[in-house]
Every structure is written in C-alpha cells, then in structure tokens.
C-alpha cells in the first residue's frame, strides 16, 4: 500500500518536471495565432496627428516562410500587395504597375506607413527560432495570469532587437503583450492585445495595438475580421505572378 501511495505521490509531482520550458511556451503561443496555415481578413487602422486611415486586407500564411497580403480598401490603395517567400520580400503597386523588392535594410521600415514594420507583417524573423527564452516572472496582466518571458536574440540571428519581453497567458499561452527593446536596452515599440475572442475555432487576440515609444499621438490597431486555420493553401498563391495579377477579390 505504502509503495502505491509513494508511487502515486511521485506521479503527481512529476507534473512539474513536465512543465513547459520558456521556448516551448513561446512556440505554443506562435502556433496558436498562426497554425500551420492561416488565411483571413484584417483591418489595420493607422492613427497619427496628421491623418487616420483604415486599410482592409486579405492575408495568407503558410508555414513561417510564405506570407501574402492584398489590400482591398480604400480604393486608392486597393490592389497593393506584399509577398514573402523564403527570405525575400516584395511589394506591388498597381498605380505604377511595378514590383518593388524590399532589401533587408528596409525590413525595419514601416509597412504602409503604420507602426508595424515590414518584418512585423511578414515575420521575417522568428520569435521562436531566433531567440533564447527564459521565464522571468509570473504577473497579472489585463486580468489574466501571465508569464513574462525574456527573449534574447541568438548569436548571428538576423534580428535588430536587443531583447523582447513576451507576456503570455498561463492558461493557453495566448500572447498578451510584447515589448521590443533596441540593442542599448531602450524600449522602442509595444504590441498589446486589447481584445481576445474566438476566431476559426481558436481563441486569439482579435484586436491588437502597436505603439511606437516617442510617437505618443500615433498608434496602429489591427483587428481580425475573419480567420481560418490549417486550411490548405496552394503554393501558387505565394508567387510573384500572383502578386502582379489582381484577381477579383471580395
């Protein structure tokens, strides 16, 4: 009897040995919001002291290396597209019928004038693979129990950030907040999940806000209007040909 009791005790305590590492938590978080593939409709609202503008776009993601975005609203910018294949990124401007390749040096510049960079939109760098992770503390954030994870870039990682703090929900590893710091340790950008909801069978952030520190009157919000996960997407979507060809879209 005693043996069984000890065995059962050990069994239950083994639970903590199988607790997830920081790396695994971040990986789960990314998988939650990306899946193997995802496609949907996003609404990006850019607010600055000079203008407020809302872009509506279709987005397709396949794995970590293929991303396609097509803007369909407003009319002036409808037809503009962004494509990422492997390590390369292109934009297409229908007004001048030109494909523009985005060099690595421009990956940190704003995408379409927003607070999101090209890198943010196409996920050129991977928060999972390019960083070393470590749990710092457990905190309460926005009413949820969260882990605060410190992400430091690996050597030779193609990453501009000095470090990233990643808050994710304890229960399901949903990303709550990310703080981006430069190499000198100065806070540059903050991405926060404002609203969480159900989309495509998952609970994900449906409204996020990106703010640049120093530009207090500007922000960009991203709202997920539609999203489906792990539906198969043809590889032909992620081609320069598709980028240049405007198919009839919703």
């Amino acid at each position: 009897m005693k043996r069984i009791a000890i065995f059962l005790l050990l069994l239950f305590s083994l639970d903590s040995v199988f607790a997830l590492t920081a790396y695994e938590m971040v990986k789960k978080s990314e998988n939650l919001v990306r899946g193997n593939t995802n496609q949907g409709i996003l609404e990006m609202t850019i607010t600055t002291p000079y203008f407020t503008r809302t872009l509506k776009m279709h987005i397709w993601n396949k794995g970590l290396k293929k991303t396609f975005v097509r803007i369909f609203s407003p009319a002036k910018e409808a037809g503009i597209g962004s494509l990422k294949m492997g390590d390369e990124m292109w934009n297409y401007l229908p007004a001048i019928e030109k494909i523009i390749k985005i060099p690595p040096s421009m990956m940190m510049s704003a995408w379409m004038g927003s607070d999101f960079s090209n890198d943010d939109v196409v996920k050129e760098s991977s928060i999972v693979e390019d960083y070393n992770h470590r749990i710092l503390t457990e905190e309460r954030l926005s009413g949820y129990d969260a882990y605060k994870i410190e992400c430091i870039p690996k050597e030779n990682a193609p990453v501009v950030w000095g470090k990233i703090y990643f808050w994710l929900r304890k229960s399901d590893h949903l990303p709550l907040k990310q703080e981006y710091y430069d190499e000198k340790g100065k806070l540059i950008k903050v991405l926060e999940s404002i609203e969480v909801g159900s989309m495509g069978g998952r609970v994900i952030p449906i409204l996020s806000e990106m703010r640049t520190i120093g530009k207090e009157n500007s922000k960009t919000t991203l709202r997920v209007r539609e999203m489906s996960f792990d539906v198969s997407i043809a590889d032909s979507v992620f081609t320069l040909r598709h980028l240049q060809t405007l198919r009839a879209k919703e």
């Binding site: 600055t48 000079y50 203008f51 503008r53 503009i80 401007l93 007004a95 001048i96 030109k98 004038g113």
Partner: protein
C-alpha cells in the same frame, strides 16, 4: 562767422590752380563712387531679377516651417482663402498656387530622388521663365494631366527622352503612398544645374491627386511689380497673414543669391574705402601746403589777436568750401554720366565670354541711381575732406607769432 566764410572763400581763390585741382580730385572721387555703386546696384538688381525669374519668384507663402523640410503634412489648408485675402495688394503683379514635394523618380532600373512641382501652367508662365527654356518638347498645358517636364541633367542621368514613362512615388498627405506614372512631354535647360538636375514639373491637379491634397497647395508664389518693393511687400503680407503662415522673400529662398549681392556690395565698399583714402591724402597735401605757405600770415593774424581756435576754424572752413564745391560738381557730374550709361547700358559681351561666372548673367549692365546712396556718398566725401584738413588746421594754430613773422617758419 560771416567774415570767416568770406575770408576762407577768398583764400581759396588766391591760389586758384591748386584749389581747382583739389576740387577736381574731390569731384572725380565722388563721381567715380557714384558710378561704381550704380554699377553694382544695377548688376545686383539684374541678377536678382534673372535668378528669381527661373523658379523661386520674388516671394513665397507657405505654412510656417514648410521651407525647412518640405513636409507634405505642412501643406496650406486653404490656399484660395489666402489668395482672396491678399488680392488687394497693389505691389503684386501675379500669384500662383504650387505643390512642391520631394519624390522618388523611377525609370527602367534607375531610381532617384527629385523635387516635384505641381503648377498651374498659365499662371506660372507669367511668374517664372523656365517654360521658355525648353530644349526638347514643350512645357505643360492645362490639359496635360499625365505629362511631366524634366530638366536636361536629370533626363541625361535617367536616359529619358520625349515619351519616356516615369514612375513617381511620394508620401501623400493622408498617409498613403502616392504613386503615379507620367510621360515626359518636355525637357528644359536653364543652365543652372541645381535646377536642371532636381526639379520636375506636372500640373497642379495631377499633383493634388498624387499627394491627396485636393483643393490644397503647399505654397503660393508671387511676382512683385517692382523688385525694389519686394521687402515692403513681404512685411506687409507677413503682417496680414499672421502666425502660422511664413512669407519668405527671395533672400530666404535662395540665400546664395543674397550672398552674391552682398559680395558685390562688399567689393564696392572696398573701392569706396580706397577712394576715400586717396582723396583724404590729396586734400591733406593741398591744405598742408597752403598752411605752410602762410606761416607769416597766420603769425600776423595771431599777433593781431586772432585766437588759435579761429585759425583752425578758418583752415577747416577753407577745406569745407572746397569740399562742398567738389561734392556738388562731382554729384552732378556723376549723376549725368551714370544716367546716360544707365539708359544706354554698358556692354560687356566681349569680356563676358571669359568671365562667365554663371549662365545667363546679363551681358549688358544698366547702372541704377539711388538717391539715398548718392546723398550718403556725398556726405561721406565731404566729411573725409573736413577730416583730412584737421591736422594742418591744428598745426597752423600752433605757430608762435613772433617766430612766424620773423622767419616765416615754424619753430
């Protein structure tokens, strides 16, 4: 006092030859200075007229801070309101709305920065002269919504010819990316490479579309009726339009031009200083000689009771009278000669080939007379004359009467 003037006057004519040449020196000095300054003023005015006629106009109106960065977010909100507000100004000959912005120009595999000007072709042609300097094709007309006019240097760099299709990318006022294609309909050549390399022109409506600035503009360019009235016009407009609007005259828009104008004036000032020096030395010599000759005479005057100060004043008075006559003659003479040349112009074409400092420097210079300058110069020459006579005058007053009378010499 009256007696002194009488005595001084008569003293001058005692040696009329010497007095004549002294007066001649003063007159020639003043006359030459009047001419030199009129030449410089004429050159400057023509240079300013010519250079401001290329592109900058005499005065530009923007939202405060626009000139520094050309930011599309600092466009004028209501240019037509400003236009009606300033329409009453008499000194304005012509005004026109413009959009001026930095853009990215792209053709084939070349991409480079340029400054795009969205202009009203009809109004613009009354203010600036680039439209007359077409080397190929023609300037914009109101119907050319997708036409672009580029400078010769830029066309060469991109390898553009008439009909080439260029892409223009820019930051639009609503935050979006402005993108449009234009066809080259004209190539201009002003000879000023900072213009030819950089500025490209489209119609104002085309620019308003590109930058999402419908109904708006980034600036208003003004041509004044007379170049001399630009400064007054600028301050008048500035007061009228108040804070939030910057009214800039050509000095702020093309500071290099103002530097050139100042440089010419500095050169003229150096000549001025030299002429003063020479006239001063000449007068000093003349007056000194006349004083040394009259040692005995001064000695007797002093023995008879004339005060030292009176002797000094007498000598200075003589110089003053010489100066006055010289200045009057020099002033009139300089005025006449300069006006004749002012009408006819000074033709420097044969020299200009070697001196081609910049393109379109006028080959014929028309000197300009300015009353304020002439009065100032006359006054200064007179003062120099008086100043030069002080040393001999004081010296005369120091003579010892007894020694002076007996020996005709100073101690």
């Amino acid at each position: 006092m009256k007696t002194f003037i009488k005595i001084a006057w008569r003293n001058i004519f005692r040696n009329w030859r010497r007095s004549f040449f002294a007066i001649l020196a003063i007159a020639t000095g003043l006359g030459a200075l009047i001419f030199v300054w009129a030449f410089v003023d004429g050159t400057n005015q023509q240079e300013v007229s010519t250079y401001t006629s290329f592109l900058s106009g005499h005065i530009q109106i923007h939202k405060t801070g626009f000139q520094r960065e050309l930011s599309v977010f600092r466009a004028l909100d209501n240019p037509s309101a400003i236009l009606s507000e300033i329409a009453h100004q008499e000194n304005i000959e012509e005004f026109s709305e413009r959009i001026e912005q930095r853009v990215l120009l792209s053709f084939a595999d070349k991409t480079s920065g340029a400054i795009l000007m969205g202009v009203d072709p009809e109004k613009e042609s009354k203010i600036t002269t680039l439209w007359k300097m077409m080397e190929h094709g023609r300037f914009l007309g109101p119907a050319d919504q997708s036409g672009i006019v580029v400078g010769k240097d830029l066309a060469e760099r991109f390898n553009l010819s008439l009909g080439s299709e260029v892409s223009v990318l820019a930051q639009a006022a609503d935050g979006s990316l402005g993108a449009a294609k234009f066809k080259v309909i004209g190539i201009y050549h002003s000879g000023i490479d900072t213009i030819d390399r950089v500025y490209v022109f489209v119609t104002l409506p085309a620019a308003q579309d590109l930058f999402a600035l419908w109904g708006r503009a980034t600036g208003i360019v003004i041509k004044a009726k007379k170049i001399e009235s630009v400064t007054n016009l600028q301050s008048s407009l500035s007061k009228e339009l108040g804070q939030g609007i910057e009214v800039l005259d050509w000095r702020k828009i093309i500071p290099e031009l103002e530097t050139s104008v100042i440089l010419h004036e500095v050169e003229a000032t150096i000549i001025l200083a030299i002429v003063f020096l020479i006239v001063a030395i000449g007068i000093l010599n003349t007056v000194l000689m006349s004083v040394v000759e009259r040692v005995r005479e001064f000695g007797i005057m002093m023995a008879l009771g004339t005060a030292n100060l009176q002797i000094t004043m007498l000598v200075v008075m003589e110089a003053f009278l010489l100066g006055t006559v010289g200045v009057i003659l020099g002033g009139v003479g300089g005025l006449i000669v300069t006006s004749i040349l002012g009408k006819r112009g000074i033709d420097l074409t044969s020299y200009m080939e070697f001196l081609q400092a910049s393109p379109r420097t006028p080959d014929i210079i028309y000197p300009i007379l300015r009353l304020d300058r002439i009065i100032l110069l006359a006054g200064l020459v007179l003062m120099v004359t008086i100043f030069a006579s002080i040393y001999p005058a004081v010296k005369a007053a120091r003579y010892q009467p007894v020694v002076a009378i007996r020996t005709g010499e100073t101690v």
